[in-house]
Symmetry: C2
Subunit: 575 residues, 2 copies
């Protein structure tokens, strides 16, 4: 039987960590060889980590990346390795090296460069033009990169027509809610369209605002998923591909040359990959895939995002300000799940406006999580600010100024703990607040990472409830889940004094921010015209706050940050 044993090394590289990344690649090469894999693939830009952003504009960075690839090359024997790196020719390319017996046999250049959402690949790379097919033994293999597979007429189509039976597509494809399903159905379509086996390899791990979810899959020529990698974890997927079956299938359903393809122009090339095979010594690992519901998936994405942001930036611990509300309770729980209880410090900083319930709930949460509860009343400091400002604010009414001062005192205390103990402050604002600017700049927005900034408030509750249900015992006190949200910065204050109910607000935010709906379309939602206007005005006017917010994890189709690039100076009003 004509077959090929393919290994997909679903690894978690770190941007710029050439030493760490190349060591990891080499160790996975050895691992894959152990299981008798004939080819082992590594993710898009595995050598540099993804996305390296403007590091790519540094010539020295490109040379250092080539040096790291060379280290990998020197260690690639007994297997064919496909390794994502940055190639340097007349310009730079997002590339995959095909390495066999310490020799770079060929280099593939990515054709389709994404330049939307958080991606800026036109800023850096030239697009490839070649469609090589690699003969590994008697099997034809096409290699291409990420976005290349999203276009029906993409490289996989040309490669399949020119002899490829297996397509290895290496990715750095960030997680968004629901993307897994979409990804899978597209790959199945592509595989059946070109009657080839598609081995889709994704990277895994957090990088600033992005979380790569892994979830590599292999779809056969008939559209069956024959292997799956873990979600949100490193994994090595080893799969024996029945290539005979591709041939049988094509006999029945011959590939049609598509009009859009001009094979003459496509620089068809067949590259023979010489190799020595070594005998396998171990059984490959069982696939570790486990399907997840939406809440679990999001929760796991957040945990991975937090642990990688904190860890890859050289921090061990985090500091979180607990308010008694659900947002900070969720963030503290996420942090404990990501880093362990001993690496999480929780500060409770009551003022004259803080309720006893908030104290009780924060304390109960800390007990449930096994985290130390530190209480620091802020009233003395608040009083000293009021005293200092009194002569200057004479005759002026109290307003949000005094509320912001309280939030900023808390921000300063958190940062003082951060500075003194070298732990990173996690902020606790959710997407609903970030959207309408219901947050204090340099106050509750002060910190290194905004874990839930792309989680709407209604989803915050859903995640908290899921976490309570799914753990050994609930950790977030019940009352936190049903009491009315309040910032507790003024007497009797409730979120609903300033905002519509979150069940009304969140769909408007989704329509305006994620779906770019017009004002007319938003009026179709359950929101009064004045309410819609107010919400849109609040969103538009808070851009200056978001610009100074810490980065956070992208989960939706349009997150704040590199994904949504808005002018601050902006007189546009859609209502």
């Amino acid at each position: 039987m004509k077959k090929l044993v393919v290994a997909l090394a679903q690894i978690n590289p770190t941007v710029g960590d050439f030493e760490g990344n190349s060591e990891k690649i080499v160790s996975y090469i050895k691992e894959a060889r152990k299981y008798g894999a004939e080819v082992v693939a590594f993710p898009e830009l595995a050598v540099t980590g993804y996305p390296p952003e403007d590091l790519l504009l540094k010539p020295q960075f490109i040379s250092d990346n080539l040096r790291a690839l060379n280290t990998v090359r020197e260690n690639a024997t007994g297997i064919v390795a496909v390794v994502g790196f940055v190639d340097r020719r007349d310009d730079i390319y997002n590339a995959a090296a095909v390495i066999s017996e310490r020799r770079i046999v060929d280099i593939y250049h990515k054709h389709y460069l994404p330049n939307y959402g958080p991606f800026d690949e036109f800023r850096y790379f030239q697009a490839g033009t070649r469609y090589p097919v690699y003969k590994i033994g008697n099997v034809g293999v096409g290699v291409n990169i990420c976005e290349d597979i999203w276009y029906p007429e993409g490289p996989h189509a040309v490669q399949s027509l020119s002899g490829a039976e297996v397509i290895i597509n290496i990715n750095a494809s960030p997680y968004t809610v629901g993307k897994g399903e979409h990804r899978e159905s597209r790959l199945v379509t592509r595989a059946t369209d070109c009657a080839s086996v598609i081995a889709y390899l994704n990277t895994v791990g957090g990088q600033d605002e992005l979380v790569f979810d892994g979830g590599s899959i292999i779809a056969d020529e008939r559209g069956n998923i024959i292997a799956r990698g873990k979600l949100f974890e490193e994994d090595l997927i080893v799969c024996e591909i029945n290539v005979e079956s591709v041939f049988m299938h094509r006999l029945q359903f011959p590939l049609r040359r598509q009009q859009a393809l001009s094979l003459e122009e496509a620089h068809i090339e067949t590259v023979h990959v010489p190799r020595k095979k070594t005998e396998p010594k171990a059984k490959p690992p069982k696939p570790g895939y486990r399907p997840m519901g939406q809440e679990e998936e999001i929760y796991r994405a957040l945990v991975l995002g937090v642990s990688d942001y904190v860890g890859k930036n050289g921090f061990k611990g985090t500091i979180i300000g607990l308010s008694g509300g659900v947002d900070s309770a969720l963030v503290a729980t996420l942090a404990v799940d990501a880093l362990g209880a001993k690496n999480v410090t929780c500060l409770f900083m009551p003022s004259r406006y803080t309720s006893e319930e908030s104290r009780e709930d924060s304390l109960a949460l800390c007990n449930n999580l096994g985290v130390k509860f530190i209480e620091i009343p802020i009233d003395d400091v608040f009083e000293s600010y009021l005293e200092t400002l009194k002569p200057h604010f004479k005759g002026r009414k109290r307003n949000s100024t005094e509320q912001n001062i309280q939030a900023r005192i808390r921000g300063n205390i958190l940062m003082a703990f951060s500075n003194k103990f070298g732990r990173m402050v996690l902020t606790t604002g959710n997407k609903s607040e970030m959207s309408v600017g219901y947050a204090t700049l340099y106050g509750d927005m002060a910190g290194g990472f905004a874990a839930i900034k792309d989680v709407p408030k209604t989803m915050v509750y859903a995640l908290a409830e899921w976490r309570n249900r799914s753990g050994k015992k609930p950790v977030i006190p019940e009352r936190v889940l049903w009491k009315e949200p309040s910032a507790e910065l003024a007497p009797g204050q409730k979120d609903s004094d300033d905002l519509p109910p979150y069940e009304v607000l969140d769909p408007v935010l989704k329509a305006y921010i994620e779906e770019e709906r017009s004002f007319e379309e938003i009026l179709q939602l359950e929101c009064a015209p004045q309410c819609a206007k107010d919400v849109i005005r609040m969103i538009d006017r808070s851009e200056y706050k978001r610009r100074q917010a810490p980065p956070g994890i992208k989960l939706t189709g349009r997150a704040f940050g590199k994904d949504r690039r808005f002018p601050i100076t902006n007189k546009y009003r859609s209502y």
Copy 2:
């Protein structure tokens, strides 16, 4: 004599202000007609303002822009108007409408879309493919947009070969130091290359991080500059172009068809522009151009950037924290020059570490500027923080934590004033500090706009000295210019305790940040290896601070902000 009277309307639009922008365009159309102009041109995306960024992803924004263009169209009579807007076809295009007698005669689509530096045009636009030439009377006119003129084989070359004698190139080209000279020499080269008159129109004004400097110019077919617009101000340049001379010149030096051009593919079209001429009633304004030295040019860019950022965001006044040092003195002076003394509030916030000299110099500065001097000692608040934190910091040495608390108290007080009085805080950090992270997040970095964040410290001194020399009398006290810089956050502290001298530091910063030099190349500068390593390490490690910094004005080839997109999570070390 064959001639064409061209008017360049060097206007200052605001992003998203469709009403204001279209009104402005209409009023300039009238103005240009008054002087007998046959054509009046408006800048790139004049209708929307530039750059609209992700507003372009809102379908409603595109429709509203078309509606605004329609308003312009209805008012365009007696003159041909060339107006930058966003065209919507199968996709969107960065476009110029050619309007005559209330009719859109043709629409040109920009060919070359910049996607580097602060630009993201591939994110939004499709590239144009047409090369129309407009017959206005008996004169052939080519219209193209910004980047189109930077390529020798660009649209101007094709248009000139197909009958254009005058090229109108509309721009939104941001200021960087020294760009004016470069721009002029390129345009002169292009004009002589294609033996056409090039009328280069630039927009003017501040938009977030960008300042557009105006400085429109008209270069004739022999490379002579025959008209110039003002720098950093709105202007209407009316110029009678001698088109006969183009013909005469081409008789002597025939245009050669370049190999690179394939005219068959270029969709050559001649579009006749019907029009009614009205008689001029007034003499055109005299050209207002005045050459500037580098310091003046930079200073004017900063003044325009500040006044537009503050004004276009709906603020009248600003608040500045004065330290007694040169940075805050320069920013206060800039603010007064931009907004007037009565719109600037200066706060002096001494602590136990503040010298008497700092107080004297800040007071003198305020007197010189005619600004009220408000003094708010921070020691009581500082003491209350220390008291509150004492039980938690027991046994730990004082370190930068306590310094940061002071800076953050000042930040909070400035923000309290901002919240209470509705004025925008201007931060005072310079590029040298922003580069190495010698600033406190949420402390001296707290504010709406960082006016001098792209000005290296050595240039801060040069600007301060230039301002003292050029005004009626010096405003920045002499001592500020020669005393040793200090943050005054600890006893006897000097910048030089933590940083190399600015004369050594600034060239390293330029080499590493602006020029992307390798470590080896940086060692060629006057900087010891350990010093170079320390500086690079500080730059690399401060990305998290810069990500949360307020926007500021881009002046150099690589400013912090949208111009330099660095990962925070980044293990790359170049040394």
